[in-house]
């Protein structure tokens, strides 16, 4: 590899050797970005006993894995992880660094960006490479960091014209996970780690881990509710519909904030992005942040009493009416036709 080859890095998040889905999704996207740059995709992996995982990144096109492997790094801890990552960025100057928009990614990325004084954009819903003219200066091959912003009726394209390293976080499900038919012939480069007392200023003394039972990304049918459901009691009817037709229940940011549903079930820019066979949007107005997380669904049904709700602009079947009257009728019709 030439010294001047532009590098696209993905921070690989893992729990006991199992990679986070979002990291594999970002490798898939990073591969495309690297192709556009005529550069190279590389993975950064920090933890312990990760040879197998390092090899797995080759299936997603990583040509090189920078691997910091040490017993003291087995679990994510802000200070040592951010120190390693910052030093690597300083030394290798990748053009792009991508992090998952997870608890870990959102803890780590800003620290690394601050240390390296890099631009960082949170929760991007699209990433592209393009030549840009900004304030009458031409910049070649910048990373376009695209995200809905402010109030929901705009899509902002953010650039870091003068930042040697461009960083972004992306939520789970936004990018598609696309393994290669044949893994690339990648190399593993060990990154030395020497523990320091400063790395232990915050110590993990207990950890409670439970795999989420909710997997919205894998659900073929999703029944989602918004703030328009009115209250928690009304929201429960969505569970009934989901149970009958065999789906999962999800909610919008507004429904989560109102306490109708748990955050792990949030669909949208700051939640998870889904592409089910069928998405039933109930009492959802359709803010861009929500649409970003569901508009690629195969079929979308929208139920809303406001005929002008933006959700009707992305749906395939629109029902204008009171959710609390429509849903029971839909449940009855389904039972009658298919049971």
């Amino acid at each position: 590899m030439n010294e001047n080859t532009q590098k696209v890095w993905v921070f690989i998040e893992q729990h006991e050797g199992v990679p986070a889905d979002v990291s594999l999704e970002l490798l898939s996207k990073g591969r495309k970005l690297a192709e556009s740059l005529n550069g190279e995709l590389q993975a950064v992996l920090i933890g312990h006993d990760l040879q197998a995982l390092a090899a797995e990144t080759f299936r997603y096109g990583a040509r090189e894995v920078l691997l910091a492997d040490h017993p003291q790094l087995a679990h994510y801890n802000t200070l040592p992880y951010s120190r390693i990552m910052s030093e690597l960025v300083d030394r290798h100057q990748p053009r792009i660094v991508l992090f998952g928009g997870t608890f870990i990614g959102r803890d780590l990325a800003p620290r690394v960006a601050s240390h390296t004084r890099s631009g960082l954009t949170a929760d991007c819903t699209d990433l592209q490479i393009a030549d840009v003219t900004y304030l009458r200066k031409d910049y070649s091959q910048l990373l376009l960091q695209i995200r809905p912003a402010f109030g929901g009726n705009i899509i902002a394209t953010i650039i870091c014209p003068d930042s040697p390293v461009q960083m972004a976080t992306v939520r789970e499900g936004v990018m598609e996970k696309i393994p290669l038919a044949q893994p690339v012939d990648g190399r593993i480069t060990p990154v030395p780690y020497s523990p320091s007392a400063a790395d232990q200023l915050v110590r993990i003394i207990a950890r409670h881990h439970e795999e989420s039972k909710v997997n919205l990304k894998a659900a073929p049918i999703i029944v989602a509710g918004g703030y328009g459901m009115g209250n928690w009691q009304n929201f429960q009817i969505l569970y009934e519909l989901a149970r009958v037709i065999g789906g999962e229940v999800a909610g919008t940011r507004a429904a989560v904030d109102a306490g109708f549903i748990d955050q792990v079930r949030q669909v949208g820019q700051t939640g998870v992005t889904v592409r089910p066979k069928l998405y039933i949007a109930c009492g959802i107005s359709g803010a861009i942040q929500h649409r970003a997380g569901m508009c690629d669904s195969n079929k979308i049904i929208a139920v809303n009493d406001d005929p002008d709700a933006p959700i009707f602009g992305v749906c395939h079947y629109g029902i204008v009416g009171d959710v609390m009257e429509v849903i029971p009728k839909l449940i009855d019709a389904y039972k009658h036709k298919l049971k």
Binding site: L79, F150, N153, A156, A254, K277
Partner: protein
Amino acid sequence: MSYHSIVMVKQVPDTANISGQVMKPDGTVNRSKLPTIFNPEDKVALELALQLRDRYGGTVRVLTMGPLKASDLLRDCLYMGADEAFLVSDRKFAGADTLATSYVLAEALRKLGPYDIIFAGRQAIDGDTAQVGPQTAEKLGLPQITYAEAILEAQGPQITVKRKVDHGFEILEGTLPLLITVVKDAATPRPFRAKRVMAYKNAHTLLELEKMTEGNSLLYVDQLKEEYVSKGLFIPTLTADDLDVDLSRCGLGGSPTKVHKIESVVLGGSAHETIPATRDGMYALIDKLMEDHIFG
């Protein structure tokens, strides 16, 4: 042992009440056009700091960076129980992204130190980035604990915190000083105390005092300031001159991220099929979904 905390708070546009005309042509937000509120998670962070003071003693100071009218937010903090409030404000700080914001905040905190704990909300509702807390910690060389749900115990220079993570939680023990960001569920902010509202509704910044003296030849701002300071009603303002900042790292110019393009989202004519909200309509819909091979 008692603890000295500083809470970073932010006045944010009430994103639930957004009307047009809020975006300026350069892609930044015209905040003057928006109703503002106390960023919800910052309010929880202040509550957590006040609880720590209730339990162990010490002080709670608050700090915000924003336009001059952010003094409203600081009075709210005083009503809740903060001991002192500081406003960081200067035109030179305007248009800052998270990196430039954290740079100025870190310099202001250096000025206000020493401290044991810096608190902040996990994220502000106007950008949801959750970046300023960690970036400020990094600039100050402090450890951080993000997504704190509860402070379990403080003992000497050690603090034990429960934090949220993907799929569960962790109990962390940290050595002070450090920075903690707080999630919404961590506490319920206390209401304003009537007595404190009566006392602090007259707390003012220098600029507010200057306005009071305008057109009144008998009032001198220096005298007024002295009087307010002696009554504990003066809210200090920290400007670029007060802080030892490198201006090339402040404001829009010091921000590596730039808004290149803003597109309004215009929804195309809806090509969807309208289904009547009737029993027959639902039967027809089920048929269509069977044709689409979704059901059946």
